[in-house]
Symmetry: C2
Subunit: 304 residues, 2 copies
């Protein structure tokens, strides 16, 4: 455990960790994990104190074969009281599935750039909002909570730099539809702390913001610190750093939940997670995947 | 390259990188690198724009067999104008060797804790100062620049928590001897940003401070950011993250110079390093060592 010393800056007393390992993590792993293992993973994560577990995705299995068992998973999911299990929903058909399965929390996935909107959503930048609008409206009408992801907020592999005002424009449009939260994604991991301040600062109200950093260039935790100092209180991370194979070229590298928890512990920020239980869970999942965890904390505490 | 956005906080305009790869990095690698490779490494690092290269160590080869060729290396070293090549000197005998070889810059290595002083120096906490005092006095009399390292500033594997005032006391005693700089070491990698602020803040004058973070728990770059915001302008790092094998249990994990440079670039802080040339150098050294670099930037930019 780190020695606890609060920071002099303004930091939140409590941070909500939005655990994306079961969805964003597993969908980017080479190894396909079986249904029972996924259910056990979700049980263990809830047991470790995580209260938001992004469980799976309704993106077509052609694109995300790792999560082709989404319906079965939701049918068999042993929901722990006090824990929410959001599901990624790409469109109205996905919403139909979510409603049929009793999902209470969904997430949509927009793009801050034209090129990625076309490549990932097969829509123009403007058309994506037209696609999401009826999804959000109907979901809210049915009493669901809707989160919006916004990808490529800090750089785009095709377009390069992404203007801060463009990110703020896309984000506001998603929030104005009625999304309760906007997760600002550094999809290619290029952000640095001043850039994080600039993007977060472009939103007048930070209470609806979350951040989603990738560790491709080793910056995820520094960027998280900058976001916390800018007032953000929800942070996306992936147990064991799932989703970023440390040996692959295109290592997207989600921020590891354990590395985040270590920093929060040191700063005296509450998070509700039992680090030892979480590390055991990630070590177990690394065994299922047949490779070491890329999380530095998991490595250090398990020798793996 | 990251999109450049300055931070709102007080950050230095320029940072000096104290490159420790050739000494602290290579001494902790399993593979022993040959003399010609070390000389080539130093040439390439200087060519990449680094201006402080900790070249080697006079610690007895029984303890650091990887650097047993220190005399030969210094005799053959092709010194580049404007670059300094400090050498670690443990005691008066080491100073004799340094003086005989025309070394102009040395570093001593103290401990902030009693236990580590005994284990690493075979002296008590107080006795270490008596050992260093004549080294520093004579070195300065001979016109040498002396840096002091202070280890275990943020936690000790045997003692646990280390009081901030104890760190400040040890550091001041080393500075008062005449050391021009004090490098605060997180030897076991447990520091977090608030703790960094506390330790740095315990010194009235930060201009003589440097920081030396290990990435064992993934915190090195966040801690560096905290130190920069606290006014520190010299940062120790290791090209390619040398010294921390990503697969070993006791991965000490030096902060990778490339990951630091990426953050400084994004923040618009000058450092003088050519990132591409540095990445090529670290990729080449990884080949010599027969293993991938643990630096995320090196991995991302070379696919390795």
């Amino acid at each position: 455990m780190p020695q606890r010393e609060a920071s002099s800056g303004d930091l939140p007393e409590r941070v909500t960790i939005w655990e994306v390992g079961p969805r964003d993590g597993l969908q980017n792993e080479q190894t396909v994990v079986g249904l029972e293992t996924k259910l056990e993973f979700l049980r263990r994560l809830a047991g470790a104190g995580l209260t938001t577990l992004e469980a799976t995705s309704f993106v077509h299995p052609k694109w995300v074969p790792q999560l082709a068992d989404a319906d079965d998973l939701l049918a068999k999911l042993d929901r722990r009281p006090g824990v929410k299990y959001p599901v990624l929903v790409p469109n109205e058909r996905g919403l139909d599935r979510a409603l049929a399965l009793g999902v209470e929390s969904i997430a949509i996935f927009g793009s801050a750039t034209e090129t990625f909107a076309r490549k990932n959503l097969n829509r123009s930048y403007d058309e994506q909002f037209a696609m999401f609008e009826p999804v959000v409206r109907r979901a809210r009408h049915e009493g669901l909570e809707v989160r919006a992801y916004l990808s490529m907020c800090f750089g785009d592999p095709w377009e390069g730099a992404v203007p801060v005002e463009q990110v703020a424009n896309a984000g506001r449009r998603l929030l104005d539809m009625g999304c309760f939260q906007l997760s600002l994604g550094d999809t290619i991991g290029v952000a640095t702390p001043g850039h994080v301040e600039a993007v977060v600062g472009a939103f007048g109200d930070v209470t609806k913001l979350a951040v989603h950093f990738h560790d491709t260039y080793g910056q995820a935790l520094s960027n998280t610190l900058a976001a916390l100092k800018a007032g953000v209180t929800t942070v996306d991370s992936s147990a064991g750093g799932l989703g970023g194979c440390p040996y692959a070229k295109a290592a997207t590298g989600n921020l590891a939940t354990e590395d985040l928890v270590w920093m929060l512990d040191g700063l005296g920020i509450e998070h509700g997670v039992d680090l030892d239980a979480l590390v055991r869970t990630s070590a177990w999942m690394a065994q299922q995947l047949g490779r070491p965890s890329p999380s530095r904390v998991v490595k250090a505490l398990t020798g793996g």
